[in-house]
Subunit: 84 residues, 2 copies
C-alpha cells in the first residue's frame, strides 16, 4: 500500500474526527546483509525531533519495522492531539 | 555451476554492493489548512539524526516537498557512501 493510499483510506475518518496525522517512513537499502541495522535506534531520535514541533503522546505512536533481505523499513504512525 | 553462472552471479553482487540508499518520507495530514507547516524546518533536524549513524554527503541528498490540500509530504532520498 502506498503512502497515498494510506491517507486516502483515512480521509473519511479524518473528516469526521479532525485528527492530525504524521507518518514517517525510513527505508534503508543496505549493500551488505550482515551490517548492523541502526533503524531501531534511530527511531527514538526521530521521535525526539518531531516532539520539538508537536506534542506527541507515546500511546499514539505506532511503530512497525520490516526487514526483507537487505532492505529495512521503519514506519512510524503518529496520531497528533487536536490542534489548539 | 558453469563458468557463465559464476560471472552472472558476480555481476548481480557487484550491482548490489554499489550503493546504499536511505529514503525518508514524512507525511503530515493537517486538520486545518492554514496552520504553519513545519516539515521544511524539520528536514534539517532529521538529517542531523541520520548523520549520527552514517556519513551523509550533502550533494547526495535529494529533497522533495509536495503539498496537496492539507497534506504535506517531505521526501528525502539519500545515497550513502560505499560501506567501509
Amino acid at each position: 500500500m502506498s503512502i497515498f493510499d494510506y491517507f486516502r483510506n483515512n480521509k473519511k475518518n479524518s473528516a469526521a474526527i479532525a485528527k492530525e496525522r504524521l507518518q514517517i517512513i525510513v527505508a534503508h537499502e543496505r549493500s551488505q546483509r550482515n551490517k548492523p541495522d541502526y533503524l531501531p535506534k534511530m527511531q527514538q531520535e526521530l521521535l525526539e525531533v518531531i516532539r520539538r514541533y508537536v506534542e506527541v503522546d507515546q500511546d499514539q505512536v505506532e511503530v512497525q519495522l520490516d526487514q526483507n533481505g537487505n532492505c529495512s523499513v521503519l514506519e512510524l504512525n503518529i496520531t497528533l492531539p487536536e490542534a489548539r
